[in-house]
Symmetry: D2
């Protein structure tokens, strides 16, 4: 990566090759970006551009299984869906908890895709680990250090979202908590920061992808759905994320956005997602990436 090389060069020039406070997350003493397995044969951080897709929250079997099948057929690599939902009101839908996790497991069985889902409390890590392939930490828990420490003891990859008010350096500090516990598989996810601008839910900070790549070997993905809160903004922001050098995307897709219990306004319909995947697949080689829209393992799954 040229940004990483650049940093190294300027460090050498300055003779300041000291480790930053986030030593394990940093490029210190490393020459290569991290590449690791997310389960089910999906590898993140390398040439393949990885897409995680699915509904904001797991709502019911038909919704989850229908959407899972749709995103798989469009070429997504992982299914996302929330069973534990962090909501700013206690009276909003809080997720289906273990019932939701079971639906995600069924969706994995059906599609063969690995599952990424959020864990909100260190006390729930065992439970979520039993069902999920990748454990997600939400933006509001980005500095829940107890949870991060607990995840350092997990052997499952952790997808860490940037806090709405976290600097890039703090974000890497949060990642360091997980790495310091012995878990080397941390995925960083830029999902927008809070600013004064009201036309999008948050302000997607694509420069942060570059600022991270300059400092860290960890893979970085972008979540344009939560950042913008607008379905129509998701396709162009997805392409911009690929262009800026992200390693992948997390995208909300819902088979019936207008009926979604949560965040319907930002969800793509399956047909829109399929179209976006085709466009991304065509663009990927121009950015040194590859993306196939033939569903991974489709032949076998379909063949059964």
């Amino acid at each position: 990566m040229s940004a990483a090389e650049n940093t190294k060069k300027s460090e050498e020039k300055a003779g300041t090759a000291k480790a930053p406070p986030y030593k394990l997350a940093s490029l210190f003493g490393r020459s290569e970006p991290s590449v690791f397995d997310l389960g089910r044969g999906v590898s993140l951080g390398g040439r393949e551009f990885i897409v995680m897709a699915g509904p904001c929250s797991v709502e019911a079997d038909p919704q989850m299984l229908g959407t899972a099948w749709d995103v798989k057929m469009a070429g997504a690599h992982l299914i996302r869906g929330g069973a534990f939902k962090p909501r700013s009101s206690p009276y909003s839908f809080q997720g289906l908890a273990e019932d939701g996790l079971k639906m995600l497991a069924k969706a994995r069985e059906l599609t063969g895709l690995a599952v990424v889902t959020e864990v909100m409390d260190s006390a729930d890590v065992d439970l979520v680990e039993a069902y999920a392939d990748v454990l997600q930490v939400g933006a509001r828990n980005a500095q829940n250090f107890s949870l991060l420490k607990r995840l350092g003891q997990s052997r499952k990859p952790v997808l860490l979202k940037r806090g709405l008010m976290n600097t890039v350096e703090e974000f890497l500090g949060s990642a360091e908590y997980i790495l310091a516990g012995g878990n080397e598989k941390v995925i960083l996810c830029e999902r927008g920061i809070r600013t004064f601008e009201p036309s999008t839910r948050n302000t997607l900070d694509l420069s942060a992808v570059l600022a991270i790549k300059e400092r860290s070997h960890l893979p970085v993905i972008v979540d344009p759905s939560h950042a913008s809160g607008r379905a129509s903004f998701v396709p162009p922001l997805s392409k911009a994320s690929l262009a800026v050098g992200a390693d992948g995307l997390m995208i909300e897709v819902h088979c019936r956005p207008e009926a979604a219990l949560c965040d319907g306004d930002e969800s793509l319909k399956p047909g829109e997602f399929q179209e976006l995947m085709a466009e991304l697949a065509a663009l990927a080689p121009h950015f040194g990436r590859s993306l196939s829209t033939v569903p991974p393992g489709a032949a076998q799954a379909v063949g059964q």
Copy 2:
């Protein structure tokens, strides 16, 4: 409170007397601000202006006991001190955990003052409850909804700090999680929000005290130490907090700030704190408050 009355009037005028999403935290169906006991005879939300003081983190017996005695003699109502410290780096001092809680309990025994200390994880609530009189939720956990739900089941008062990027309405939403669980004793603490201004650590938002009073019956205190990160700013900001209508303060005091393991730059020395307390006591009646610098229960404690 005139702000509260104002809101009611405008609601009546508009015929919109509907409950907001944070119904229990709101003024809906209430005519009085909440007043409740924090333990050891200290009542918050009424005429008395309440001051919580102590070191950022509990470090050792002499530091904790010395500082506790100093703040008590200056008239503080509660002792503060962190046994679990949320730090942005895993390699920074993380607090003494249960050992720290024990020192806080000793300090209470010595001074007769109630203790407020942070809890960072729902799994630690039982432990912290066993030692503390008031449970604190830090700014970085302001939307750790699992922790908030767990604290709804506690019978101890909860001091909830505003998240660095939380709006007033979200802050009340977080309070609602605790109230909805059945715990009616929630203290809101304004401690600065994150902005672009670098001359203070955060930007203390004193207007938020007014915005909360306009919407909620809950008591509001201000933490000028963490907000500014500057000891010399703490006295004037404390007076401004009293002037704007806060119900109390949380202030960092350390017997040797230059040797503090954490946040020494923002800690007052005991003598500075004593001077500030005297000034606040003189000002309080001008704002409809009372504050005595005779230590609560000093006679008895000293008499033994």
Copy 3:
């Protein structure tokens, strides 16, 4: 001022007594805060707490004269009112221009109070100078360096508002433009910065008063009306401004807020302003200030 002394001491300790980029605005080589005359015998920066009051915009003779008389009788030291209005839409009321300036001059004649009013363009400085005692630069022009340079050649005091996105250091850089031109009378005005919080129009940054006092000899006033956009917030924020160490206030008062062409929601009624002035006068001595509610020169004016 103790904050200034503190800085000096820490500079001496560090041996870094170098001038900052805003040398003339800084405390470098100075031992005293600036005190200067605003016209009509009003002196700012000393013991007297100075209040400027009046409508957001000059609308008509009766409105302007009525309000001017009201604020004078309540003890205000200057009349404010905009003849040139910076509005975010070209179709909003843009001010009465020279007609407005004439009304302000009449108000001065009637009340004997000096006049502060905004100038938006270097080409208008001659015109506004012909009528006003103090020239105001609005928040949106805080980095209009052409205008600032032109005002450096004026001999009238300049009231410089902080830009909505300006740091304290940039604010002092803007002041330096005026000082570098030879005009020594610069008044800094904190009026809120832009943040994510929607419950007030902007976020009043009272810590900035301290951050400025620590760096600069220039007087600082606070405008709680524009900062909050809420009339009911103005009295408590005014008291907090006095408490934090500001040298004065700028407050919107309108004889009929509900009919104001601009910013009626944030304007106090004359009776409310009078009550606030009485409260401030009672508080001032506690903060080392004096404020009289007997109108300056009232005897003569009334006697005629």
Copy 4:
């Protein structure tokens, strides 16, 4: 544009087809984006992706002419360079004023490229118009309404930069000032907003391009150089800007960045710029754009 269509549809659905406060800038009553001439045969807003490039400030003949020739040979459509520089300190280099404008005119003569340069004061508009093809309004003057009104009377296109703290709606309000004066050629330029994140100078808000396209027919370009303040970030952010739907770019190029009087850290070297242009040219067709790296009018110019 599908975003525009979307808005129209939702407006029709809601029956709210009312003009917004920025009526002339809006899509109200229009079906097509604006396409207009920038001089020298360059048309903005259509299929051609337009690139403006050059040094931050005009420093000397060889620097300006050398850089102008370099950017022309790489395929840039306009030369940029500042003769009037808005600097936060009065002691920083303020630009060469008319001498700088003359150098820009020479650069145009040499290369045949149109010139875009900043005007900071309404009093300077006549002067700058005499030399420039496109008049730029800087971020700090984005709400200098006097200047905007004066530019409404110009017949030259105006490149309006977004203020560091301006919302998209305010940005369109500023454009409306120019349009309302009768000048239909307004170019909007996203150049980053101010946030808490320090790893880039400002936070480039690429979602704003989408938010503008959804509301307005005006062309939008992106300035990744000023937004990031980092030369190494400029190429990926440029590609992301193309990907998100911008109509063009403004990029800083300096023949010797290390010796630049202003903003050298963010300037590309001519070779880097050439490489970027080649990459953009290869990508453009994938985003429905065209970009040629054969210098416009190169044959003639070179042929002489």
